[in-house]
Amino acid sequence: MKNFFATRTGIVTAGVVIGSFAAVLQKVGNPANMGLCMACFERDTAGALALHRAGALQYIRPEIIGILLGACAVSLRRGEFRSRGGSSAVVRFFLGAFAMIGALVFLGCPWRAFLRLAGGDLNAIAGILGLAAGVFVGAQFLKRGFSLGRSRPAEGAAPGWVLPAAMVGLLALALADFGPLAPDVTDKVAPHAPLWISLGAGLVIGGLAQRSRFCTMGALRDLFIVRDVHLLLGVAGFAVAAFALNLAFGQFHAGFAGQPAAHTQQLWNFLGMVLAGLSFALAGGCPGRQLILAGEGDSDSAVFVLGMFAGAAFAHNFALASSGKGAGQFGPAAVVIGLVFALVVAAIMTRRRPA
């Protein structure tokens, strides 16, 4: 059957719907300019699991669960679920960890970078430029033959099912209000939309993103490598829809200072996202896309997602993450280490292969 969402109208539709969900989720309770953020939501989920205990950053985000399971359900239905893996998993783990650290120095995944801009946060511009620069560097390695190696079909179904099963487990814990997962905070828990709305939105977004291959990193990468704007049109639809609804909901406030969950140190906004963009490019997808692939049975992407959880824990346990005041004490050093790691991996794994 022809896939409508693989067409130009389809990808724009997907982007518009996902961007609209982001604005609505903020309206009904998610944090400001954070209707959707894969990095922040994985960080909050890591916090709820006590991998870190940063105040007010602890909550099992049903959006994450929904997106992965939505993609899982749709890929099963379309016969695209395949348990597979074996492409440099440990490298992907560390790329995921460093990508998360870079994203938390900027304060957002690429989705949130565009949502911040759509909410009037002009600091996001430095982050988006950094993302583009990181993806551009990654694209140069990809054009020269960079590869983390081929994945193979798994011998059995288990590898592809571990992360979807874990998400079902997380959902059960969230629904049961499992005591030990209660946030260890004195002031307040992370602001959030009602659970069922978050979960439902996540399922729809996961399904749409699976069909359309929506990917913010891929949008820039395809522009750099093949001058193809297909995915970029989806991202444009995403940002424009969020912007329009933000205006309608009174959620648009233009400026640099005092933006929600943001800082004004543009060098670190930029370099944090260079690290994130390069890591996403080498690993083949932005955090949202990695969740989708993990839902399709790709255990390499599942390892990348787990790396992001580990990165979030490191970021908040060791003062790497930024705050409203600016970069964390050791954030800049971590970004430099991450860039060295990603560039060394890129150089080692690039070889001119015969076409």
Partner: protein, 69 residues
């Protein structure tokens, strides 16, 4: 026998990069092996935009594109 581009098991955008390289080397007729629907869509889009014709067949372990201009 025409040249073969094996993209099986490669993640985005490597299938596209390999096919692009074949085009840039001036190949007018070649075969592409693919094992994911995403790669099929991406390679189809690239070849379509470069004016190639594709004949698709299903094999046991994926899809085969016979590409010609």
């Amino acid at each position: 026998m025409s040249k073969q581009v094996d993209t099986r098991g490669l993640s985005c955008p490597q299938p596209v990069v390999l096919v692009l390289r074949a085009i840039q080397q001036g190949d007018q007729m070649f075969e592409v092996l693919l094992d994911s629907e995403v790669a099929c869509e991406n390679v189809r889009r690239l070849l379509g935009s470069r004016g190639f014709r594709i004949e698709e067949t299903q094999a046991a372990d994926g899809t085969v594109f016979q590409v010609s201009r």
